[in-house]
């Protein structure tokens, strides 16, 4: 009934039941949205994305490199331009100084023409305007302060404050130029006013020093810009180093990104496959509650769902099996109790009409029990007459034994001629023997007579008188024997009443009387011859003594036989009683109420 795996299945089943009730807590983190994408696009994504990232990074680095190059070149270009402009400015300043002195000299000349002076003045003013424009343009556009990324680069390159210093120098150049310009204008004004001496004095006292200042300041600015080129070198070196670092970082980042993407893809593929495998493993080890996590909308999800459905089906089958098994066990238990009841003699069997093997077995059992019950009933019915018969036989045997004993006793005590009051089977032989013995008493001489002589004597006797009497006696004896035969048969039959016996006895008595008379008659005839025969009979008596024990032996055998029959009859009765007692254990009364059983189908 119980299979070896039954416990495992039971456990699994119950665990499954428990699992159904308490839904597995989803300890997993929020599912990866990637698992909604089929595997093929995901793999493509996994390969494309790192490639894209790598390409992007390479592009960015290349772009930056190009930018750096262009930046560097534009930087140099700008520096060169500003440097050239400032150098031009320097020339302007120097030319201005020369021109102012030339103008003064022209004015000092004895015949200074006003046109010449005006031309000189215009030349100076033109130079001044150009220089002013140039310097202001430089200050407004070319200062590092207007190019924060460049000044930041210098800061990083270990040259902080360059922009500030440049601005200072530029403002210094501007201020000195303004002062010089004012002085110059005053000088020119004095010249135009004809105050050549004053102009000369002013030029010497204020124009020349301020011009020197302006020149000095401008040269410092030019020098500073010249120095910037070497700083640019440092800055670009630094930038190249930064770019190298950036490239390395980018490579690392790309690797990390590829790793992350790989990890994501891995997480959405291998980990879930592992999970599926773990479920399969768990089921293999008997844990039927284990279920695959069904996340997303990809192929693995479908497989996981299929596995879960399969497991559900299996569990359902197991439940069904378990239910069937329970039913079988129940039926078997019932059958077993029925069998136990039947063993205890109670034939009340609940009818389990199932189509399963147990039901069929039960039906077969009940069918058998029905048959057995009918057999018992029949046996019980047979027992009663058997018991009666045993009783009767016992009684008869007892009677026969008593009679035999009485007869055996009587054969020793009664005289040989005395007729028997009641007929018995052993009487005829006893009578013959006794007659023979009485014949033998007449003879004194115990002469050995041969049987042939005796027979011849008897033949002689019978030829004269005895023949007829003997026939009569024989006839009587035959009748007696017949009656005795009837009596014997009567004793055997239990239905024959005693009246017949009495009738037979009467007939027998009458016959015996006749026989007695016949014997008396023949006795007289015989007396004379008996004397003759005495001697022979004496001898015969001797020989008959030898056989005198034979009737006693017979009686003894008969008694033994009767005793044997009695004993057997008693045993038979005891057995019959036992059988009855045993059969009485079966509760047939209750059975009677439910006599039929359904036959197995």
């Amino acid at each position: 009934m119980r299979f070896p795996q039954q416990h495992t299945l039971d456990r699994a089943f119950h665990r499954h039941e428990a699992g159904k009730m308490t839904e597995k807590p989803s300890s997993r983190r929020t599912p990866n949205p990637l698992i909604h994408v089929p595997i093929a696009p995901r793999l493509v994504l996994g390969f494309l994305l790192p490639a894209l990232i790598a390409a992007l990074v390479a592009g960015i680095i290349g772009l930056q490199s190009a930018q750096l190059l262009s930046q560097e070149s534009s930087f140099y270009q700008q520096l060169f331009q500003s440097y050239a402009a400032l150098t031009t400015g320097n020339n302007f300043l120097e030319l201005m100084d020369v021109q102012v002195h030339a103008t003064l000299n022209d004015a000092l000349a004895p015949h200074a023409s006003q046109e010449q002076l005006t031309a000189d003045q215009k030349a100076v003013q033109g130079l001044a305007t150009r220089y002013d424009t140039l310097l202001r343009g430089y200050v407004q556009h070319d200062l590092l302060a207007h190019h924060p990324e460049q000044s930041a680069l210098f800061d990083q390159a270990g040259h902080p404050g360059l922009a500030g210093q440049q601005s200072l120098l530029a403002s210094s150049a501007l201020r000195t130029w303004e002062v010089y310009g004012q002085a110059q204008e005053l000088v020119l004004q004095d010249l135009l006013d004809g105050q050549v001496q004053a102009a000369q004095m002013l030029e010497r006292a204020q124009g020349e020093p301020t011009s020197a200042d302006a020149l000095s300041a401008l040269r410092q600015l030019i020098q500073f810009d010249g120095r910037l080129t070497s700083f640019v070198q440092d800055a670009t070196t630094l930038q190249e180093r930064n770019q190298l670092i950036l490239t390395l970082v980018a490579v690392v980042l790309v690797l990390v990104a590829i790793g992350v993407i790989g990890r994501l893809i891995y997480g959405t593929l291998v980990r879930r496959l592992r999970q599926l495998q773990r479920v399969a493993q768990a089921v293999q080890e008997g844990d039927l509650t284990s279920r695959a996590t069904v996340d997303g909308r990809d192929e693995i999800t479908e497989v996981a769902a299929s596995v879960n459905t399969m497991l559900d089906t299996i569990v359902g089958l197991l439940e069904e099996t378990s239910r069937q098994r329970d039913a079988l066990v129940q039926a078997a238990t019932r059958l077993f109790s029925d069998i136990r009841l039947a063993n205890g003699g109670e034939f009340e069997v609940s009818a389990a009409v199932n189509k399963d093997p147990i039901g069929m077995l039960g039906n077969a059992f009940q069918f058998t029990v029905g048959r057995f019950r009918r057999f018992v009933v029949r046996t019980q019915k047979t027992i009663e007459p058997l018991e009666v018969l045993a009783q009767q036989e016992l009684e008869l045997a007892t009677t026969f034994l008593a009679t035999t004993r009485t007869l055996a006793h009587a054969s020793h005590m009664t005289p040989p001629s005395t007729p028997f009051p009641s007929g018995a089977s052993g009487q005829t032989t006893g009578e013959v023997k006794r007659s023979l013995r009485q014949e033998g008493e007449g003879r004194t001489a115990p002469v050995l007579i041969s049987p042939e002589r005796l027979r011849a004597r008897v033949q002689l006797l019978s030829r004269q008188h005895v023949e007829h009497q003997g026939e009569t006696v024989l006839h009587l004896v035959e009748q007696i024997a017949q009656h005795a035969q009837q009596m014997v048969s009567a004793t055997r039959s239990r239905n024959i009443a005693g009246t017949h016996t009495a009738e037979a006895e009467g007939t027998l008595e009458m016959l015996l009387r006749q026989l007695s008379m016949e014997v008396q008659t023949s006795h007289q005839h015989l007396r004379q011859q008996l004397a003759e025969m005495e001697g022979m009979l004496t001898q015969l008596a001797i020989s008959s003594n030898m056989i005198a024990g034979q009737p006693q032996e017979l009686a003894r055998l008969t008694e033994g036989f009767a005793q044997e029959v009695t004993t057997r009859a008693q045993q038979l009765r005891v057995l019959t009683q036992e059988l009855r007692a045993n059969l009485s254990l079966f509760r047939l009364d209750e059975l009677e109420r439910r006599p039929s059983f359904s036959t197995p189908t």
Binding site: G164, S167, V179, L202, Q206, T210, S216, A217
Partner: protein, 276 residues
């Protein structure tokens, strides 16, 4: 003076290679020149030595022209100056200007004079000897005694360029170019007038405005006040680590704040003014 070659990055670290050593392992940076910049230079030298114990910075006065000459003649690493180095006098193209701050100057008078401001014309008249009594400019009847600094004074040159318009002062000049000497002279001479850096102004003298404008940072930034000059630190051998480090240190926020505290105008303020 220095036998060191160029090398290493400009020092911003705690230790510097001793390239301009003058005996021993300690690098020495010698500063000479403007007395107007001396207070800041001296304090900065001490602070720098605290930051870089293996660098000793010596700051001396002497006047702007002395400082420039010292640098050109390799007698000093740094020459402080209120004035520009004339390319004619100092033609070395390696002479490099480092503007560290702006020095404001003011006219100071004997407190007895009791005026608060003079016009540029009045100043010119006073220093050229056309006005000799304070009562002519609204002051007490007191003889004006201008204190004229020697020719090596950067302050005097600035005064001539930016206030006097190139005119020459007349009168006795002081024998030594020292701002403190001017201060003492003005403080102890009745009716005296002089000019000095605003950093040294103390209650013994009275600072007066020019054209009604006093020497404040705001007035200089806005361009109303003209008696001011860039404070230069000239160097000849660029790339000496200790010197470069000191010059960078001069540009640092710490020194610029210190300069402001001492009465100078930090470069940042001037830059902002220029940007406007």
């Amino acid at each position: 003076m220095s036998c060191g070659t160029l090398g290493g990055s400009p020092g911003s670290t705690g230790t510097l290679p001793s390239q301009n050593t003058r005996g021993g392992n300690t690098a020495l940076v010698h500063i000479a020149g403007s007395t107007a910049l001396l207070p800041l230079a001296a304090k900065a030298a001490n602070l720098f030595h605290q930051h870089y114990p293996d660098v000793q910075v010596e700051a001396q006065g002497g006047g702007s022209v002395i400082g420039l000459r010292a640098v050109v003649n390799h007698q000093a690493d740094i020459g402080d100056s209120d004035i520009y180095a004339d390319p004619v006098l100092y033609p070395d193209p390696n002479l490099t200007d480092h503007i560290v701050c702006v020095g404001a100057f003011t006219l100071i008078v004997d407190p007895q004079v009791g005026i608060t401001s003079l016009t540029t014309q009045q100043i010119i008249a006073i220093f050229t000897g056309k006005i000799t009594n304070w009562k002519e400019v609204g002051g007490p009847d007191l003889h004006i005694k201008p204190v004229i600094r020697p020719n090596t004074s950067g302050t005097r040159i600035l005064f001539r360029k930016y206030v006097l318009g190139g005119l020459k002062e007349s009168g006795p000049t002081l024998t030594s170019d020292s701002s403190t000497a001017v201060l003492d002279a003005v403080a102890h001479t009745p009716g005296a007038i002089g000019y000095v850096t605003t950093t040294l102004v103390n209650p013994t003298v009275k600072a007066i405005g020019i054209d009604g404008v006093s020497a404040t940072e705001h007035n200089i930034q806005s361009g109303k006040y003209k008696f001011w000059g860039y404070e230069h630190m000239y160097t000849l051998d660029n790339g000496i680590d200790a010197t470069t480090a000191f010059l960078d240190f001069m540009q640092s926020a710490q020194i610029q704040q210190l300069a402001q505290k001492l009465g100078y105008i930090p470069v940042t303020a001037i830059q902002i003014a220029q940007q406007r």
